[in-house]
Amino acid sequence: MSKELKKTTYQIPIGPIHPALKEPVMFKFEIDGEKIVDVDVELGQVHRAIEWTGMRRNSIQIIYLAERICGICSFVHPLAFCRAVENACEIDVPERSDYIRVVHGELERICSHLLWAGVAAHEIGFDSLLFLTWEVREKALDLVEYLTGNRITKAILTIGGVRRDIKKEHHQKIKETMDALKEGYKQLGHIFLDDKTVKMRSQGCGVLSYEDALRLCAVGPTTRASGVKKDVRADQPYTAYGDIGVDYMTPDIITGEVNGDVYDRIIVRLLEVKQSIDLIEKAIDQMPAGDLVSEPKIPKLLSRIKKTKGEGVGRDEAPRGEVIHYVKFDGEHDEPFTWKVRASTYANILPWIPMLKGEQIADIPIVAASIDPCMSCTNRVAVVNNLDNKKYMLNKEHLHELSIMKTRRLKHK
């Protein structure tokens, strides 16, 4: 082939750092014109060595460290850790605190899914929807603050139970909030599922097939949108989910078919918001009376953990998918011998590659955001031409602009 006819592909690195990023990720895209040919993902820009630090702390201290792994999943990480320790040391949890754990877990899911829905709307340039979504989310956050004293880091968990009760006088406010959320859900569900703008940017975009979801070990709404029935809450009984009963939310409940695209991921998350409201109401109704913790004396608890020789695994369903913590105690030390954390985005990194291949540059923000990766800031983008080594700098704002332009283009077609 002569030199003039040689096909040029470009490399676009996107990422990794922006001050506002929760989870910086570096993408390297191989681009042919507008089309993405290949993707490479680089992690580790904010590896904070949390596991290494945790192996030098005692188990009670780790709860608060685990809470700070993620700003949004500040309940499920300590829950997975507490369950791992409870399994390793065979510590029982009182029934009442099992139900309280469900309430807080589901409140976190509502906050997280609504946060995501707002970000997704912003990525396609639909900012009025962003404000509407976050207005509804604010009500859920107010309830979290009312019940725990904090909006985000709740500090409610301890090994063998929870630290604060949900009392009779709280029920009124919970009921009011749930009614408000149901009202908000109706409105949001209508806009997200029926609006033309959302549909044309999300249908057929960022497809993950059933086989890929299964083989690449995807988790959470990402895998359920591709039709894989996998939800820890329904798969194994933990806390009170076994009593209440949880269904698998797949997009065919609404549309009758599974496409595995961004639109399906929106459906799954919306269905789960509704499901969470249901679960909270059921948990409040069925909550038995009883203790909050099985062992209120912390030194006694710690000495029991210190004497334990064994290992345990705690899994639970975070808003983004399965979270798993593994601990091993050697029977001599306060601190765990090994502590391993696997967050849900860790398992959803590889599915990004089949999703992004074949899409356009303007689709990067919405497809990347569709797994809810704690990552939507795509700053410092440089386009490098392989042949003449010319460099163009693109930033996050420009990429966002491209995305908005695509929405406008499609609208006026």
Partner: protein, 194 residues
């Protein structure tokens, strides 16, 4: 917009579900003494006391790949993560699988432990059976210094380029402790780039 890609939804082949005891027996029949130990742990939760099952199996390194192949034949597992424990002379790798998910409350958590000697820390890749294992295998390479034979992509994952090549943060020996301490002390002076 790119042409609409459709996914044909195939119903997951319904495998006959074995009880936890039968799962252990299935592997013991095949690998005999190469299964070093197997333990079934049951825990109950909630007010209806529904139980969930953890199976802990320790196997010999020589059958590891066959074991995973055998497991895939039984039912396609979900690999959550591989953890590692440094015991001084050996490193224990624990692969956390879950099987029978998608059937209400029937999931079994299967934890498979393998010992590898620290003098020759090598294990075979399972990416050809479970492509999703790549991330966790790459992490074990850099954090524990395990050499994964046949890994499709052996680059570093989390650690930066300038991090010393022979320092593995999750190991617990003196050499690692000293190495980490040195890095820790120099933290504010900046790590020298090569």
């Amino acid at each position: 917009m790119s042409a609409k890609k459709t996914t044909k939804k195939k119903e997951k082949k319904q495998d006959k579900m074995l009880s936890p005891e039968e799962v252990v027996k299935y592997f013991k029949d095949e690998f005999k003494t190469k299964i070093k130990s197997a333990e079934i742990k049951r825990r109950t939760t909630g007010s209806k006391k529904k139980e969930f099952v953890n199976i802990w199996i320790k196997i010999d390194k020589s059958i590891f790949k066959d074991f995973v192949k055998h497991l895939c034949n039984l039912t396609y597992p979900h690999l959550a993560v591989a953890c590692g424990n440094d015991f001084g002379k050996t490193i224990e790798l624990v692969y956390n699988f879950s099987i029978y998910y998608g059937n209400n409350l029937q999931e079994i958590s299967l934890n498979v432990a393998v010992d590898v000697p620290k003098s020759k820390p090598e294990i075979e890749t399972i990416c050809d059976w479970i492509p999703g294992a790549l991330i966790t295998e790459r992490e074990k390479q850099e954090m524990l210094g395990i050499k994964v034979i046949g890994i499709p992509d052996s680059r570093r994952l989390f650690l930066p380029e300038e991090f010393p090549k022979d320092l593995y943060p999750w190991r617990k020996d003196e050499q690692t402790k000293k190495g980490i301490e040195k890095l820790y002390k120099n933290l504010h002076e900046g790590v020298k780039r090569k």
